[in-house]
């Protein structure tokens, strides 16, 4: 398009140039030949034709006018005609050119108006742009101001935050220190806990406050983090603002350039005629317009940024609120600190406000703890001493009990000893009396000896008596030397030994009892197991069943079936045998006969019966033996005679009190009466036999008198033995 316009413009400009050149050439119009020559390039063929036509009348006029030479006249005429033609053509041409000029003027005016319109438009756009620029500048200025304000605020806020952070950190450190101190205190208090409930209560309170402080610290640290994050965001914002400033500077530069361009436009306005410059200006202006559009976009971006900055401002407001909250928290914590200090003052008496430090509290608590430790140690020592004393007391009491027992034993022993001493004194008295008596006797004997003199027969008696006397003396000395206590100590030892023995027996019995209990348990288990297995107490139970029970019926029917089957088998066997033998007539009868003749079953039954009979016999024998044994034993114990039944109705009687086994009597039963047979023993008791059998005719009398005699003899020997024994002891 531009190109085409340019072409158009150039075309118009060329036309204008031509026109100008024509105007300039006006005074030289007379020299149309040259002009003609100059125009010849541009003249049409029509013109030549016209000239040619004009020429022709001229020639005619010259031909007519004879004043001059013909040829000259002709020639002049021709020239006149030609000139007239030329004039006419030139006039025509002039008119044409005039028209052309008018047209070109019109075109020029049109173009001018269009250009002027364009210019106006561009001026308007420039004005608009100028206005926009101004607005942008104003905005920029405002933004700068806002930015500056924000920066200032930011700086103030960051400073404040930094200050608060530092303060909070300090507080945190202080609180941590306090925490540590309080923790230490708590540990100390926990140690004291058992003994001090009040301290416990305080401790709990302190713990709670500590926990709240810790929570508060945590909150503060979290707030700090948030604020740091916000500060970072603000720093980012600052960077963005810097970049925006840079962009603004760039825009200012561009603005300067634009101003220069505007100046250029002004200059170019003056140089309206210069289209090229106009065009270039136009192009440049278009470019500028594009640039401005870009600027507009950038301004939009900047507006967005402003919006973001405003939102950040709001955030900063929130942060400020949080800071206020933090301040309030700070005040609360300060109040708590004051409370703490108050507590410290209450706890530690005689203390100034300036001295109210956790260290002092710690020191105070340490002192308390030390005191407590000291007291606890003392208490422990006292308790241990008490325990020792109690132990000693118990020991002493035990000793007392023992000693009392010993005293009782001793008193008992004493009484016993006194009794023994009394007895021994009596014995001593008796012995002394005996001694004195014996001495007197000896004296009398000596006197007698001296009186009688030496007599051989009585020397031996004397010697015997002297020996007896010596024996007595020895005994006396023994009795005198032997301590009377010896007996009692012997008794004590015996008692102890007996006691030990009894204790041992008791232990043995206890062990036996345990073993027996164990055995009992085992046996009970076994009984249970056996009961499970179907065992029962035979003595206390009777097992009954219905006679016609299915089992017995079943057994019977089975046995019947068995029998029938056996019989049938035998019959069949016989039948087979008979068939093999060739018997075919009356086969069944023959078979039946044969079976009956065999009667093997009956035999078997009889044999079984025999067996059972034998078993019964054996059992009866056993029973008889047992009963006879019992009978004999009872007779032996009741009557004192062992009765042995011998062959040929002979009976041998041996007495319970017989000295030898061979001392026995033999009786024979014949014709309903008993007869005594001669034995070695019967010869020794012939008197008795004569008395009881010969005169009284009674065997039982003989037997009973014999038993009495034997018993008395045996008891005599026993008593004689016992008397002998006693004498040996004496």
């Amino acid at each position: 398009m531009n190109q085409s316009k340019d072409n158009d413009q150039t075309f118009v400009i060329k036309i204008l140039d031509d026109l100008r050149s024509n105007n300039r050439s006006k005074p030289l119009r007379m020299h149309f030949d040259t002009s003609m020559m100059g125009l010849s390039s541009s003249n049409d063929s029509l013109l030549s034709n016209k000239r040619q036509r004009l020429c022709s009348p001229d020639l005619q006029e010259s031909m007519i006018t004879p004043e001059y030479s013909p040829w000259e006249s002709r020639h002049t005429k021709q020239e006149l005609v030609n000139a007239k033609a030329e004039i006419a053509s030139l006039q025509e041409r002039n008119t044409k050119l005039f028209n052309l000029k008018k047209e070109s003027d019109l075109l020029f005016e049109k173009e001018k108006s269009a250009l002027e319109h364009n210019l106006k438009k561009s001026k308007l756009t420039i004005d608009q742009l100028d206005n926009k620029l101004k607005e942008i500048r104003n905005d920029k200025f405002n933004l700068k101001v806002i930015n500056d304000n924000l920066m200032k605020k930011l700086e103030t806020v960051t400073e404040e935050n930094n200050f608060r952070i530092s303060n909070l950190e300090k507080e945190k450190k202080d609180l941590e220190d306090k925490l540590l101190s309080v923790n230490l205190e708590i540990t100390k208090y926990q140690d004291e806990a058992a003994s001090r409930n009040c301290a416990d209560y305080e401790l709990n309170e302190l713990k709670q406050t500590l926990r709240s402080n810790e929570n508060y610290i945590e909150e503060l640290t979290s707030n700090l983090r948030k604020k740091q994050i916000e500060i970072n965001a603000l720093e980012n914002d600052q960077v963005k603002i810097n970049t925006a400033n840079q962009k603004i500077k760039c825009l200012e530069n561009e603005l300067a350039l634009l101003q220069e361009n505007a100046m250029m436009v002004n200059t170019q306005r003056e140089k309206l005629k210069r289209f090229n410059s106009m065009e270039t200006e136009l192009i440049s202006l278009r470019d500028e317009v594009a640039v401005y559009r870009n600027d507009v976009k950038q301004t939009e971006i900047l507006e967005n940024k402003v919006a973001t900055l405003e939102s950040k401002l709001n955030k900063h407001g929130l942060i400020e609120q949080e800071a206020l909250q933090l301040r309030s928290n700070l005040s609360v914590s300060e109040d708590r600190l004051k409370k703490w200090i108050d507590v410290c003052r209450e706890v530690c008496e005689n203390i100034d406000e300036n001295q109210c430090y956790p260290e002092y509290l710690r020191y105070y608590v340490d002192n308390l703890k030390k005191k407590d430790m000291f007291v606890v140690n003392e208490k422990g020592e006292l308790q241990s001493s008490i325990a020792q004393l109690e132990l000693k007391l118990q020991q002493v009491e035990n000793e007392l009990i023992k000693s009392k027992e010993q005293i009782i034993n001793a008193t008992n022993n004493n009484s016993k000893h006194e009794l023994t001493i009394k007895r021994l004194k009596k014995q001593l008295f008796m012995v002394t009396w005996e001694r004195n008596d014996l001495r007197e006797l000896i004296d009398s004997f000596q006197k007698e000896v001296t009186v009688i003199g030496n007599l051989n027969g009585e020397d031996t008696k004397m010697e015997v008596l002297e020996k007896a006397i010596n024996g007595y003396k020895n005994r006396m000395t023994q009795i005198e030397t032997d301590p009377s206590l010896y007996v009692s100590t012997d008794n004590n030892k015996r008692w102890i030994e007996e006691k030990n023995l009894l204790l041992k027996e008791k232990e043995d019995l206890v062990n036996k009892c345990k073993q027996l209990e164990h055995n009992c348990a085992i046996l009970e288990d076994q009984i249970d197991h056996r009961a499970l297995k179907g065992d029962f107490n035979l003595r206390e139970t009777k097992v009954l069943h219905f006679k016609m029970n299915p089992a017995s019926l079943g057994f019977n029917s089975y046995q019947n079936e068995l029998l029938a089957a056996k019989q049938e088998i035998e019959k069949l066997k016989e039948r087979i045998k008979a068939m093999q033998e060739g018997i075919s007539i009356n086969l069944t009868q023959v078979v039946d006969n044969r079976v009956e003749s065999n009667a093997s079953q009956e035999l078997e039954a009889l044999r079984e019966k025999l067996k059972t009979q034998e078993i019964q016999n054996q059992r009866l024998r056993e029973v008889f033996k047992k009963s006879s044994q019992e009978f004999r034993e009872s007779v032996y114990t009741l009557l004192g005679y062992k009765v042995d039944g011998l062959q040929n109705n002979m009976y041998r009687l041996t007495s319970q009190f017989a000295f030898h086994e061979e001392d026995n009597l033999m009786f024979q039963l014949s014709e309903g009466s008993m007869h005594l047979l001669e034995t070695p023993f019967s010869k020794t008791i012939e008197d008795m036999i004569n008395l009881h059998l010969g005169q009284q005719h009674s065997i039982p009398l003989l037997l009973s008198s014999l038993t009495v005699d034997l018993f008395s003899k045996q008891s005599m020997t026993v008593t004689a033995d016992s008397t002998r024994f006693e004498s040996t002891i004496n």
Binding site: K533, R539, T541, L544, N549, A551
Partner: protein, 205 residues
């Protein structure tokens, strides 16, 4: 109110004896069925204790069971029975294959006269216990050895020695199983009688 409740919950000695006899009757019948001692077609189902129990329709068995159980009931009321053993024999060898011991214990104070002896257990709970034991009897088939020979059974009553032996009864020898395995089933109690059921069976070595 209290007396009413007592009368509702009370169980008399006769009632207890009847319950025990019912249990024995149905126990024996179900053993006869479960162990295949008699052909299964000779049994019919009857509803007792909330269970469908197979009872033998064989007249011989009923003729045997009824007098035995009646006699047992009399002895039971006099506290003469110690236990009842149902013995299953191999008919051909007379070998004892299985023995079901129904052991009886007498509960309640012995000082009271028989007419005043009253239990305080709920009938439904007793029936439930009996039902459980009967169920267990039915379930023993799963592990008891198969009786693959003609069998017959006998009821042996272990009584106190002072019992007079009735006419149709006789003393018999106790039956033991050599190398037996025992299983104690659940017990039930009527609060007057406690019944322990034990099954002993021959183990195949």
């Amino acid at each position: 109110m209290a007396t009413k409740q007592q009368s509702q919950n009370a169980i008399t000695l006769k009632g207890s004896a009847k319950l025990v006899m019912d249990y024995l009757n149905f126990g024996i019948n179900s053993i006869l069925f479960q162990r295949g001692i008699y052909p299964p077609e000779s049994f019919k189902t009857e509803e007792h204790f909330g269970l469908s129990i197979l009872v033998s329709t064989d007249e011989k068995i009923q003729q045997f069971l009824q007098p035995v159980l009646n006699q047992m009931k009399d002895w039971l009321l006099d506290q003469k029975i110690q236990k009842m053993a149902m013995v299953i024999y191999n008919v051909t060898t007379k070998e004892v294959l299985e023995r079901w011991d129904f052991k009886l214990q007498y509960e309640g104070s012995p000082n009271d006269t028989n007419s005043e002896l009253v239990g305080n257990k709920d009938l439904s709970t007793i029936q439930k216990e009996i039902r459980d034991v009967l169920r267990q009897i039915c379930s023993t088939v799963s592990f008891l050895p198969l009786l693959d020979c003609p069998c017959a059974f006998d009821l042996q009553i272990y009584t106190k020695p002072e019992v007079d032996v009735p006419q149709e009864w006789a003393e018999t020898a106790p039956s033991y199983i050599a190398n037996s395995q025992e299983l104690q089933l659940r017990s039930f109690s009527t609060s007057l009688h406690r019944m322990n059921t034990v099954v002993s069976y021959k183990t195949d070595m």
